[in-house]
């Protein structure tokens, strides 16, 4: 199997090999953005900052409580779809067909 990996590597056009590192850097940047938001809504708003946020009301919800039991979950869903969409754009930009 290692042999086949090497073979595929050499048959790959040179341009795609060069863009590989660039593609990965952009992906890492995107992951960093997503995980920052992921951390901020759950551990940040839902746990560490829950008391100050609870001073603010969202209808019947205290805001910190809302983040812990509702808001963080909605944000997670949005994050995964955001990541998927941005990666699809990135694939297109680098001419990757999957």
């Amino acid at each position: 199997m290692n042999q086949s990996v090497n073979e595929q590597k050499t048959t790959e056009p040179k341009s795609t090999r060069l863009s590989g590192a660039q593609y990965w850097r952009e992906n890492l940047k995107l992951i960093a953005i997503c995980l920052t938001v992921w951390f901020a809504v759950s551990f940040g708003c839902g746990i560490v900052l829950v008391e100050p946020l609870n001073e603010i009301r969202l209808g019947g919800y205290k805001l910190g409580f809302w983040f812990a039991q509702q808001g963080s979950i909605y944000t997670f869903v949005a994050l995964v779809f955001y990541y998927t969409r941005q990666m699809n754009k990135l694939d297109k930009k680098f001419g990757i067909k999957d």
């Binding site: 795609t16 560490v48 039991q69 963080s72 979950i73 997670f76 067909k97």
Partner: protein, 579 residues
Amino acid sequence: MDELKLYTYIAVFGSFALYFAIAWWARAASTSDFYVASGHVGPVQNGMAIAADWMSAASFISMAGLIAFLGYGGSVFLMGWTGGYVLLATLLAPYMRKHGKFTVPEFIADRFMSRTARIVAVICLIIASLTYIIGQMKGVGVAFSRFLEVDYGVGLGIGMIVVWFYAVIGGMKGITYTQIAQYCVLIFAYTVPAIFISLQLTGNPIPQLGLGSTLADGSGTYLLDKLDQVVTDLGFDQYTTANMDSRLDMFAYTLSLMIGTAGLPHVIMRFFTVPSVKAARSSAGYALVFIALLYTVAPAVGAMARLNLSFTIEPQAGQHIEYEQRPQWFKDWETTGLLQFEDKNGDGKIQYHADQQTNELVKVDRDIMVLANPAIANLPNWVIALVAAGGLAAALSTAAGLLLAISSSVSHDLMKGLFFTSLSEKRELLAGRITMTFSILLAGYLGLNPPGFAAGTVALAFGLAASSIFPALMMGIFSKTISGKAAVAGMCAGIGVTLLYVFQHKGIMFVASTSFLGDMPENWFFGISPNAFGAVGALVNFAVAILITFFGDKAPEQAQIMVDNMRKPGSDSQQVFEH
């Protein structure tokens, strides 16, 4: 036969007939069918199957009950069991799908070029999955014995036969399509009672909004404010701020559940069933939507059940109901022993208090909250019947996914991969089916004779996956230099530290008398509870592997090329699926 029982039989056996029909239609013909459904599952379908695979009896039956009694502290389960999907979608699933193999240990073996790493991964996987299955089997037995009033063992047996039929015949292909049906059954069964109860209490049919609305009694009080007031009057902590141990413990517990979720092999495996990297990313998104549907309703179910329970026992402040006039659901659950009343002051009324001296509701098992909820709210019988079918769907779908993870790691990783490398495809398929049959028998036996440590082991499964599998996979993808030796040392150190910590506080193999430090918060490491220690174990795993790599042992050139390939979708994809 009364009406409720008739409806329950119709709901349960109707749904079983549906699963059988689907399994027969989607039976597996090749190993590729059996392990990964030939990589032909679409992202929305896969999302639904992942959701059913993931949401077990614990999510369906136990979680809302836990939240009802923990209040804000119960948020760790909500955030922990959903946040893991962000990690899966960004850190693991797309690259593992790109690499394109059948099992998690196989991925680890390839990347780290190590047989030892593969064996360690198989051991971690089997321990984590087996402990998890025991819980599912118990759930099946309990649901049958409560709702159909058959013997616990008979219920368990029926459950085993159903799982055997569609998991062994259909493999991943059959499991995928039955899981899609099971998702529909369980989400319908979960949300319908929640909508009814939300309407009754707040006039708002959407439970997520109902929880933040005012009560429908015309008082203009918000539901959560009322609940805070009711529980503090009884002497409990305020519902919306009640904390779970320390802040740090809550932090570590949430993190453990998140990375444990991302490291559980039966969930990761589902990402091998989609046709492309793109589909792997989007199926994580759809899975989370389907999971969030239940997880955002659960806090409403929990809070409303707690409120309804108080309203039933104490309709007006200071006015307790007579024990003789207790409702039918109260009597039903008393016979199961999960609800117990003791008239301490002899006045014939039910007093419910936080103070153990005067509290007369001496036992309210948290698990009954979801199951009893429709009855407490006086909902029609067909809704109660639905809940039984939903709970069974949740338990069966998770059990099937776990069985597949176990049988594939035995037949594909141990037999085909390590010991009988010349095994033909036909024989491997047979070996997979035989392993699965044995796993079901073992799970059934353990469900019938649950070891003393069964209750503690679901939390342990997350700790194990978090401290062993997740770090190894993540380093394998995000570092080109981590070697096989480093990965093995990291996995052993991570899992070792976690096990040691759990055993020293909970007892060796959970036999309490052998715990040498005692299960008391004073002895906890920085106040971190044993259930939350997987996060620390994962840190140890990362640290050990990185140190070993730093001081010498680096991965060979071939592994680095492999990492380059898995990071980028497209042309150089290896064709692994035979058609």
